[in-house]
Symmetry: C2
């Protein structure tokens, strides 16, 4: 267990009591979340898009490496290399319905990683990053697939962001109301939220059974 | 039904066939999604954070108004007014597990709104934006709560972003594999995903029953 060491860029500006400093908690959220949102600056304005991603905690960058997957043709991917980017991963855990509008909130876990983005050019690192990205979606699946073709490799870009500058902010638990609002007797509570999978939809063009890794992943997401 | 009119900043750079131009579809996604991610440029680098938000399709800005809720003390909120921001709303609808790593994808709907952020200063507009934000979480709830105090109003900021410059990109349906991969016979399919609510957790300090609006919202999210 290593502590997160936020720089000024990843130091919380408010509700600092919600800040977490345990790197293992950060890695657990990045493991659980399916997508991230990456922000890049393009032509002076920010652009934020959802992306597939993966983590190599022992990757070559300071603090480990967060890999972001994209097309070489994507506008944001062309802008990112060599620039600072922000990768944010959010799990929404509940609606906090307080007795006042002001104390309404959400339960969540949110990781913010800021760093200089590096285009992965080493072929071995790129292949590994792509495998990690598939395995992040369904653990174990990469090993069951055919190798990428040269054309496929040429069309895919992986961006590496150091996990060094990161913050983790979470809210958990129940409502936090003013004593006078509690005394007034109105209802308050929490609606817990989670992502679940439905039944696996097998492609009509195959008669193979659902592979074990996919079955396990769907079962995990149904719990 | 009005068409979206993307500017160069919100014109898709790839997979343009996934672009949608129906403003009603954009509004439907913004209605369904619970959180957005806002990107701002702060000190030369992007910052992306999750936020509560609401839409007033008849709001005072071109194309209607997207309101983003935040604390007056949040670092990103202090940077945003007068600057271009990007507000991205993503619904993740499924894991698309193809026969090759390359054709793996996700089903999703993603709205990207770029525009100059305006700090809402008119008190009537601000009160309305705050009500819309509560009602976006649980429709009908704002009218059941006590009025905000002056102190609460002073601590809350609402940012207005025009809905004029917006894009909507979606992927739906099954896997899209190469014919030779289909012929090789491997399994492929889709794992559908959705957000669901668990049982409503009533605060132990109230004996009131769960209000109808909360019950309806939880039931809607359970379907």
């Amino acid at each position: 267990m290593t502590d997160l060491s936020p720089t000024p860029r990843t130091t919380l500006t408010r509700e600092k009591e919600r800040g977490r400093t345990d790197r293992d908690e950060l890695l657990a959220l990045l493991d659980e979340a399916i997508i991230a949102h990456i922000g890049v600056v393009a032509g002076g304005h920010p652009v934020v898009v959802p992306v597939a991603f993966a983590v190599d905690a022992d990757g070559p960058d300071e603090g480990g490496t967060l890999y972001v997957h994209g097309s070489v043709a994507a506008g944001w991917m062309r802008k990112a290399p060599g620039s600072d980017v922000c990768v944010t991963v959010t799990a929404l855990d509940g609606l906090v319905l307080a007795r006042s509008a002001f104390n309404h909130s959400m339960n969540y876990r949110c990781a913010v990683v800021i760093g200089s983005a590096r285009l992965v050019e080493d072929e071995a690192e790129r292949a590994r990053a792509m495998e990690l990205t598939v395995d992040h979606v369904v653990p174990g699946r990469a090993a069951t697939l055919r190798a990428n073709t040269r054309k496929e490799l040429a069309a895919t870009a992986m961006l590496a962001v150091p996990l060094h500058e990161a913050s983790l902010k979470t809210r958990t638990g129940g409502v936090e109301d003013e004593p006078e609002d509690v005394a007034a007797g109105a209802w308050a509570g929490v609606v817990p939220l989670r992502i679940v999978s439905g039944d696996v939809e097998t492609d009509p063009e195959t008669s193979e059974p659902v592979p074990d890794d996919v079955r396990r992943r769907a079962a995990q997401l149904s719990n």
